[in-house]
């Protein structure tokens, strides 16, 4: 989303779904996983919208949809590519919108070679280190810096420095840098508004998807052609001037080795149909937890600082100027990134941060390589990482290849787990699966494990930032019991104690900790820090200490402090705007006075595109914001995502920079060129256009290209992370069934919040697998009985749910049966079972390091799994039968 539109958040908000004329839910089981938000889908349906659910299984979402389209897990790009081809081939795109608001007309360099002309690989690929050089993907006559994604790609070009590898900096994925974009551009864009130039993005797109025909969709996805056409017709009929369609997705799209490109494919389709920035349109990224959006905005990610500012890399001689040079842009709002960064440093180091010392820029840690969760596990196994905090997560159940996670933890010196209950990640050393199989012995494990009970959201003040970038503050209802404390309490008092221990230190390395502003007021008998004081710091203040109201007030001279520039305004006027709860009945349907949304309380992003180039609504029915000629202001139902007084007829003077350089018809204000990117010239590690690749493990050959899998996917070969053969490779037949993992309404992710709660445990009391009657009959599986499921990593058992909701598909001329596994269970708690993630592998998307757990391949057989040492023996036997060694599945 960040690379396509400029910001890595949902483009719309859930309430706006009610305005949609068609909603496609794909890669999401919205009714089950977002039941509260699903009310707006039901509202749209009641108003006559067509609801389509594309999913390998018939779920509770499918049950309420008008149309369910069963699809083979891992084939969505072929399906979406088919829709893109349908729209292009039938001239069904929204021409005025596409020409004005996307980069369709932009001309690419002659050096660009499409995957279509190179058997599935784009130009610039280096098979040695499995990575792309993006230079050939550029616009003709200019260079574009990405709004988000791999912004460090161009560091050497831009700073003019090369360390020749001396610093030992390893390639570090920067794909989570997907927040608030804005991109550098130098030179003038060459474009052809007739869209006829053979090297314009539109023509490139047309050629790239020409072979994604309904026949090919059927061949790859198992979707019959008439069903495909029903979806295509519904989308085309319900898009355009007077109608809009929305897409909803969740981790069913992201958790693939080519996951970012799934979302890119939807971004292309929605841009072609003119559905971005308009009411009832957009792409709704449904986030998996209550505050996952918040944990990327103010990140728990290793490579980002608050507000999607990139974490500095350990390049030689990098100082604040070089950092800004590398990451800011000439056009768009990222041109102000020095102000955002200096204000952040002032918020963290206060008076110690001065212009003379680069505002303490050197206090920030530097990245020397990837520290993503899976890299960290590998570093634990190799002894590089010695300590680990696990807070609100249960990797021994919830992360891919759960066994690898536990083996990594067994190599640590210390481990801190903060949770409500004794989750599996806290007890694996005494009763985990490897203790039972004899692969680990408690007395041999040197890890010191600390378990600290955590307070629940009802026991503390704080805020959630939900799926639509909406901050909602909640107040404490009761005191936490016993030793349970909030995460804020833990972080604050840990910092306080460390600072006390270091107080007498004169070592310069301790200055970053000692100089921190760490003076939050506390309250109550547990000295709980005031959460609202943290909100105030995040919002920021001016030189007089008065709260700021907008990030446009931020300065780069140290006169303002702001903990997260995109949240600036959440405490404007000294009022906690996130705590606003004005009832729906007392305000408009947009509900601007419920909580506070970033940026600047806008609910629908890029909403300048809801008006035509002249600033008039595309139609009365779809009016949202528009240009008021009399007042010379943008007005409407929401706050315009555009300079409020910038006329649609504004054209920048030559040499303009920053936001000034964007024209009056550039709705995507964070992008270098102000346009939605159908084609991504930079910012992605695995290609400028989404291309169908098979999952890491698939029973099928890629029928579109010789290239079987994403050539740039990220692999971590390890003896406990063996990969399986695919397609027509010998041994692939040992694992003939595509497998997908998912959630149920009744439980939450790895179960830490639900498996210990009797009222929820009784609703889904046991781990089960879902199979079709046909597969049950093929493998002798008995409804209500037990099944054993095996991959190259591990073997598990599950109760059998035989259901027609799983249907066999015809793919590549043969019948395929899919296996479904909810992944909530583990051996601890009130409701117990094996963990589905014992089966999954660490094979990652190269942009964001997300694991592929939505599509893999397995074998399934009746009965319970072996116990003790026999369990590992069975896995070894499968590996032997499939001829698996350390090279298998690692081919480019």
């Amino acid at each position: 989303m960040g690379t396509s539109f400029g910001r890595g958040g949902a483009t719309t908000f859930q309430q706006d779904l009610q305005n949609a004329d068609c909603i496609v839910i794909e890669g999401s089981n919205m009714a089950e996983c977002h039941p509260v938000g699903f009310q707006w889908v039901m509202e749209a349906k009641a108003r006559g919208a067509t609801i389509i659910h594309v999913d390998p299984r018939f779920t509770r979402t499918s049950a309420l949809a008008d149309l369910h389209v069963p699809i083979r897990a891992g084939s969505d790009i072929a399906f979406l590519g088919g829709l893109i081809n349908h729209v292009l081939a039938n001239d069904a795109y929204f021409k005025e919108y596409v020409v004005a608001y996307t980069n369709a007309a932009t001309i690419l360099t002659e050096d660009y070679v499409d995957a279509e002309d190179n058997d599935g690989v784009f130009s610039g690929f280096d098979p040695e280190d499995r990575s792309y050089d993006f230079h050939t993907w550029q616009y003709e006559g200019m260079e574009v810096q990405a709004a988000s994604g791999q912004r460090d790609q161009q560091y050497e070009d831009r700073v003019g420095a090369s360390d020749g590898g001396k610093s030992g900096v390893r390639k570090a994925g920067r794909g989570e840098a997907h927040g608030s974009g804005g991109a550098a551009i130098s030179g003038e864009i060459e474009h052809d508004d007739t869209l006829q130039h053979p090297r314009c993005v539109f023509q490139v797109l047309k050629r790239h998807y020409a072979r994604y025909t309904p026949e090919m969709v059927e061949e790859v996805c198992g979707i019959p052609q008439d069903l495909f056409r029903q979806v295509a017709d519904a989308l085309v009929t319900n898009s355009g001037r007077d109608r809009t369609s929305a897409f909803c997705y969740a981790v069913g799209w992201t958790q693939h080795t080519v996951g970012v490109q799934y979302i890119r494919a939807a971004a292309i389709l929605q841009s072609l149909l003119g559905n971005i920035g308009r009411p009832g349109g957009g792409i709704l990224a449904l986030r998996g937890h209550a505050s996952i959006q918040g944990s990327t905005d103010i990140p728990t990610l290793y490579n980002l600082l608050p507000g999607y500012l990139p974490m500095p890399h350990a390049h030689e001689h990098e100082d604040l100027d070089a950092y800004i040079e590398a990451d800011s842009t000439e056009k768009g709002y990222w041109a102000e990134s020095r102000s955002y960064m200096v204000s952040l440093l002032k918020a963290w180091w206060g008076g110690a941060a001065t212009a003379e010392n680069d505002f303490c820029f050197d206090y920030l840690p530097r990245l020397t390589g990837s520290a993503s969760t899976y890299d960290t596990v590998l570093a634990q196994l190799s002894g590089e990482t010695n300590g680990y905090f696990i807070i609100g997560e249960n990797p021994a159940v919830g992360s891919a290849n759960a066994k690898l996670q536990r083996l990594g933890m067994a190599k640590l010196d210390w481990l801190v787990v903060r949770d409500f209950s004794l989750i599996e990640s806290a007890t694996w050393w005494k009763d985990g699966p490897e203790i039972e199989t004899g692969e680990l012995r408690t007395e041999d494990i040197g890890t010191e494990v600390f378990f600290l009970p955590a307070a629940a959201h009802t026991e503390k003040d704080g805020s959630f930032t939900n799926t639509q970038r909406l901050l909602q503050f909640h107040h404490q209802a009761v005191e936490p019991e016993g030793d349970a404390r909030s995460d804020l309490w833990f972080a604050f008092h840990l910092g306080r104690r460390i600072r006390e221990k270091l107080a007498a230190s004169t070592d310069p390395r301790d200055r970053p900790i000692l100089d921190l502003t760490w003076d939050y007021p506390t309250k109550g008998r547990h000295a709980e820090p005031e959460a609202e004081a943290v909100v105030a710091e995040i919002n920021g203040w001016d030189a007089h200490g008065d709260p700021l109201s907008s990030y446009e007030q931020l300065n780069d001279d140290g006169s303002t402090a702001c903990g997260c520039w995109i949240y600036c305004g959440v405490y404007s006027d000294g009022v906690n705007q996130a705590a606003r709860r004005k009832p729906a009945g007392e305000q408009s349907w947009v509900a601007p006075e419920w909580g506070w949304a970033w940026p600047a309380n806008r609910r629908l992003l890029y909403n300048r595109a809801s008006a035509d180039p002249d600033g008039k609504p595309w139609s009365e029915r779809k009016a949202y914001v528009w240009w008021d000629e009399e007042k010379a202001l943008w007005t409407g139902h929401d706050i315009a995502d555009f300079a409020a007084d910038k006329s649609p007829h504004y054209r920048p003077p030559v040499g303009a920079t920053g936001a000034e350089a964007l024209t009056g018809i550039d709705p995507f204000v964070m992008q270098a060129d102000g346009k939605a990117w159908l084609f991504v010239p930079s910012g992605l590690t695995d290609g400028p256009l989404p291309t169908h690749y098979e999952p890491q493990e698939s029973p099928f050959r890629n029928p579109l290209y010789r290239q079987q899998r994403n050539p740039a996917r990220e692999l971590h070969p390890h003896e406990n992370n063996r990969l399986q053969p695919s397609g027509d490779e010998p041994g692939a037949e040992v694992f003939p069934y595509p497998l997908t993992t998912y959630r149920l309404t009744e439980h939450h992710t790895a179960g830490g919040m639900t498996r210990w709660v009797p009222y929820l445990a009784e609703l889904q009391p046991e781990f089960f697998c879902e199979v079709s009657p046909e597969l049950a009959s093929e493998r002798g599986l008995e409804h209500g009985g037990w099944a054993t499921i095996v991959t190259a990593r591990n073997v598990i058992e599950a109760r059998v749910m035989v259901t027609e909701r799983l249907t066999p598909l015809r793919v590549g001329g043969r019948t395929v049966h899919q296996v479904g596994l909810p992944y909530h269970w583990g051996p601890n708690g009130y409701s117990r079972g094996d963990a589905a993630n014992e089966l999954t592998s660490v094979a990652l998307d190269p942009n964001v390091h997300i694991q592929e757990v939505k599509a893999l391949a397995c074998d399934i057989r009746p009965g319970r799994r072996p116990r003790g040492a026999d369990r590992a023996a069975l896995v070894r036997d499968y590996q032997r039968r499939a001829g698996i060694d350390d090279e298998t599945g690692t081919e480019v």
Binding site: Y759, E762, Q764, T807
Partner: protein, 303 residues
């Protein structure tokens, strides 16, 4: 015969109830959990039933809301009464040996067609009958009709006699094993008393469970069923809305998308105490006749 005219209230409050529109139920079970949380209803056992996603199995002393899950195909004929049932569908290989179901396309048409896979979800609850047999048979007065027209068990009065259990035509009210007393939905009597809606209706994210004055709910339900019919959903029908049915109409009624039997609901419920007056009359006549006979025998011989 108005229900509240039978009551002791001079200025009766409007009768309150539930309208459960199963056509928008997403089976999230929030109603079950909210009910248990509010009313301190105990956990009801960890049984993996294999009945689709229904592990609650039915209403009982420890489950006052129950979401039924029914996997079937449109146009399927319900076979018999009983529990909402899915179980294991028969494994049926495609006739062509491909393994793909030959006559049943995956997914379906935009317009409901015969034989399309459907997954029905419906949240069941005590019906709070107009003529409530449980209340009729209660010897202690524990069961009573509230000022809202609902039927409530008073847990401090119930003596566990169990007469109400077989009296319920829907099999709703139930005895708790460990204490013997009868338990069921109170329509959150305590919440209603302070102007709040019942916990289940409050928690329902799609307004499948609607709470309000029964008259209004009946009008709303009629409009909804007409709307669905206009959209071509001919199978939509109301259940328990009719004041002239065997229980005098339910205080909690439903919009269903299939036959009541499909959901485990009796198609034509009758208050089990309906025939009691007649029975008593006949018993009385029989007793009189017997007495007359005895008298005749005693005195007749004399004469």
């Amino acid at each position: 015969m108005g229900l509240l005219s039978e009551s002791e209230y001079d200025a009766p409050l409007p009768r309150m109830g539930f309208f459960t529109d199963t056509s928008v139920c997403i089976g999230c079970k929030a109603c079950e959990v909210a009910c248990k949380e509010w009313n301190h209803v105990p956990e009801d056992g960890l049984d993996f039933t294999g009945m689709s996603y229904d592990n609650t199995q039915g209403l009982g002393a420890d489950s006052w809301r129950h979401v039924a899950f029914i996997e079937n195909r449109t146009g399927a004929t319900p076979v018999d009464l009983g529990m909402p049932q899915v179980g294991a569908p028969d494994a049926a290989d495609g006739a062509d040996g491909s393994g793909v179901r030959p006559d049943l396309p995956p997914g379906g048409d935009l317009i409901d067609g015969e034989g399309k896979l459907q997954w029905l979800m419906a949240s069941d609850v005590c019906k709070h009958c107009t003529h409530a047999a449980c209340l009729d048979v209660c010897p202690t007065g524990s069961l009573f009709r509230t000022e809202f027209g609902t039927v409530v068990v008073q847990e401090d009065i119930c003596n566990g006699c169990g007469y109400c259990i077989p009296a319920c035509p829907y099999g709703v009210i139930d005895q708790r094993k460990d204490d013997g007393r009868a338990w069921k939905c109170t329509l959150c009597y305590d919440r209603l008393g302070v102007g709040m809606e019942p916990a289940c209706a409050k928690a329902c994210p799609t307004d499948s469970i609607q709470f309000g004055p029964l008259d209004e709910l009946r009008e709303r339900a009629q409009a909804r069923v007409e709307q669905l019919h206009e959209k071509g959903v001919d199978v939509a029908r109301l259940y328990g809305h009719d004041p002239d049915d065997g229980v005098g109409g339910d205080g909690a009624f439903f919009l269903l998308l299939d036959e009541p039997e499909t959901y485990g609901l009796p198609p034509d419920p009758v208050v089990t105490t309906r025939d009691l007056p007649v029975m008593w009359r006949q018993a009385g006549l029989a007793a009189l006749a017997l007495a007359a006979g005895v008298v005749a025998a005693a005195f007749g011989r004399k004469s």
